[in-house]
Amino acid sequence: MTFQGFRRADGLAGTRNLVLVIPSVGCSQGAARAIARGRKDAVYLPNILGCGQVGDDQVLVKKTLAGFGENPNVFSVLVVGNGCETLNPEGLGEEIARSGKRTEVIVIQKDGGVRKTVALGRKIVGEMLADAAKLNREPIPLSELILGTECGGSDYTSGLASNPAVGVASDMLIAEGGTVILSETPELIGAEHLLARRARTPEIARKVLDAVAWWEKKAIEGGQNIREVNPSPGNMEGGITTLEEKSLGCIHKAGTTTLEEFVPAAMRPTSKGLVYMDTPAHDIEQLTCMVAGGAQIVVFTTGRGTPPGSPIAPVIKITGNRDTFLCMRDSMDVDVSGVVQGRQTVRDAGKRIFDEIVAVASGKVTKAERLGQRDFCIFKVNMNI
């Protein structure tokens, strides 16, 4: 099967055709915002990092910003630097330019201050938008999609309806040769041995177990033993018996296939099929990591209702809670409450979600896009200095 997408110079394919303005440091965020303001199909990243990070965090910040630039949903990129930041804007631009797309770098301290830099940036973005408008959608095999999966604001309907239904859709996309990213390691605790058992190789299994151990250790250092407090008395009252069951309710959204690869946060998968990405469970950091890793589309299940979207990738909101769907109609894309009400099977709900993925990949606008939800938060481990 195919979707209608945009073919890029590096051979990848996008579901959107955006011009992206990336401030390489928080100091140039204001200029970047002014450059993108009022320009349909031009977006900026509200990045506040790029200076003051140490060690691995420097790598994570650069990898995340570069990953957004390289994502095939982006047609062209303008990097806006300040000039004295630790994340070198030219180096960031060079990394993104390797994808073959037009990438320009402007720097406030070299280009005559904020006003002149904004004027220069708006001229460049205007050219990029004019070129982007000449490109048309064409049929692209679904095997070229990387689907990010996420859940947030969960309630009892998440484990019963929306996550299993998304699991059916994930299996369907993988059957088409596509890629599905499962992530949020803290939510894996209790079911990690079950996911590890599905790994293609012992090395992949070991990486999953090590990632869980790392997050568990970090949480305990912060004063929280996740395993001891789960499932909570409220969970048990609701029918959850074991921690395995609770965690499976979350990870089942990635379906039932073999785990083909493990990638660190914000890293692009090289395998097709099911891929595990080691990210936080923080909704916007997780979303940012998956899109930086090349996801061109995301499915996001919720019980209570959560509005976030990505600056460059469509995020499809799915709920199994009818009240949430009605209350937050402006944020919810797909209602699978029929499963909980006994009117729809999980399989039928999954097929409905799969159809929505294909439609949105082909240009159907999501509720989060309509609301202008362009949420962005880079995951890092240490404090800024």
Partner: protein, 99 residues
Amino acid sequence: MAGRIKAIVIHEKDTVAVALEALSAGSEVTVACGEALPQRIKLVSSIPMGHKFALKDHEKGTPVIKYGEPIGTSTSAIAKGEHVHVHNVAGKKEGGAHA
């Protein structure tokens, strides 16, 4: 499909179903999953909404399957149609990383 579905089986391999409403002991419930033929289960206990009941007899010490994966092991024999919860199932408490 005749009438409302009163219980869900999430995966074809599952040995338990989840009640979508409070169900009483002695009542019969039709459950179906995927391409498998629907089966009728006579409940031997009352099942609160969101709780699980067994789709088959479990001997003591056998895996209880939901989402197609073991969610724990039976700590006593569980009859088909019986309530499945903390009184007759235990999970694996320690981390997989340390196993």
